[in-house]
Symmetry: C2
Subunit: 200 residues, 2 copies
C-alpha cells in the first residue's frame, strides 16, 4: 500500500477549506488515502514570524477577492465567517478526540466544521458551535464538551502542532506526499502531478 497523503490545515484558513473540498478526490484518483491533520497556524506563525494573510496591506484585499473567485471556479459556496479570525482550538481538539475514539467520524467532522465556518456563516471559534457541529453528526454533545476540557485531548493537539512545526509545516493547507511538502490550495495541481508521475 502506498503511504497516505498527509493533509495539514487550520480550520480558520480559507485556503485550507478550499483544499479540503478536493484533497480526498485527488488522493482517490491515484489509489491513495488522506490523513487529515488540523493544526493551529497561530503557533506556526509565532515561529515563522508571519502575519495572517488578510491583515497584510494590498495582499489582504487581493485575498478577499481571490477566495470568492477560487470558490466560484470550483463551484463551491463560500462566505467569510461572522467572526474572523476565529480560534480553531475547539474544532481541532474535537477532531483529534474523534480520531482516537471513533476514527470513522473524524474526517466527516472536519468537513462539517469547515462547512459551518466557511459556508454556513457560523462562528466555529466558539465551543458551542464546534460541539453543535459534532452533535449534528450524531456525536454525543456532552461527551464532546467534556473532551474539549480534557487534559489528554489538549495535549494531543499540542503534540500534533509541535510535530507539524518540527516537520517544516508553515502554512495551511500543506500536503505531504511521499516526503514532499506542497503548500497552498493553488498547488494541488502539483500534488496531483506528483501522484500521477510518481515524482519527477
Amino acid at each position: 500500500m502506498p503511504a497516505p497523503l498527509e493533509f495539514y490545515f487550520d480550520f480558520s484558513s480559507p485556503y485550507g477549506f478550499l483544499a479540503a473540498l478536493r484533497i480526498d478526490a485527488i488522493a482517490a484518483r491515484h489509489g491513495r488515502t488522506v490523513t487529515w491533520r488540523p493544526i493551529l497556524l497561530g503557533a506556526v506563525f509565532k515561529v515563522s514570524g508571519q502575519q495572517p494573510l488578510l491583515d497584510i496591506p494590498l495582499k489582504g484585499d487581493y485575498t478577499r477577492h481571490d477566495l470568492a473567485r477560487f470558490a466560484r471556479l470550483w463551484d463551491a459556496s463560500f462566505a467569510m465567517p461572522p467572526v474572523f479570525p476565529f480560534s480553531s482550538v475547539a474544532a481541532s481538539r474535537l477532531f483529534y478526540w474523534l480520531a482516537d475514539a471513533d476514527p470513522a467520524r473524524a474526517v466527516p467532522y472536519a468537513k462539517a466544521a469547515f462547512a459551518a465556518a466557511w459556508q454556513q456563516n457560523r462562528d466555529l471559534g466558539t465551543p458551542d458551535v464546534a460541539v453543535a457541529v459534532a452533535a449534528e453528526l450524531g456525536i454525543d454533545a456532552q461527551a464532546a464538551r467534556a473532551a474539549l476540557a480534557a487534559p489528554a485531548v489538549k495535549e494531543r493537539l499540542r503534540i500534533e502542532v509541535d510535530a507539524a512545526i518540527a516537520r517544516g509545516v508553515f502554512g495551511s493547507p500543506y500536503v505531504v506526499v511521499d516526503g514532499e511538502g506542497f503548500w497552498g490550495a493553488d498547488r494541488l495541481w502539483q500534488v496531483e502531478e506528483w501522484l500521477a508521475r510518481g515524482g519527477w
Copy 2:
C-alpha cells in the same frame, strides 16, 4: 483585439523567472499578447510590510526546495544567483529604456536578463552584467550605460512601480487579465482557465 495580459515581475524574483518561461505561450494559446512590466519588489514590500520569501523561517527552506522542484517540473535549468538578493534596478531601467526606444528588443532583453540571473549564475544586480546582457543582444553598450544614469529613465521606472502599487500589485509574478489579478507562478493555471472560459 482582446487586451494584452499584463505581466508584472521583479528580475530578482525566482517565481517571476519561472512565470516568464511560460507567460507568452499561455497568452498565445488564447490569441493574446503580453505586456511585460518589471517592478521593484523592495518598494512594494515597503508598502505591504512583507519580507523577502527566502528570509522567512520555515518558509525560506521550503522555497529553496520548491524552486528547484518547480523548475524540474517545467524542464528548466535553475540555479540560485551568485549574490542574492540582488538589485533589479539596472535591468529594470534598461528594460523600460528599450521599451521606449526599441520596443522589439525589450522582451528579449527581459528573457536574457532572467536567464543570466537564474540560469547562468551571473550577478544581474551589477550594472556591468545588466549592460553586458544587452550588448549580447546587439544593443550598444555605451548607450545602455548612459541610459542607466539618465534621469528620464530613472523616472520612468519610478512611475511604473508607483502605478503597480496603486493598482494593488503586491508580489511577483502578478498577472492581470481583463482586470483580474492573479499572483504567483503557481496560479498560471487559473490565468489559463480564465482565458479559456472568458472568466467565470
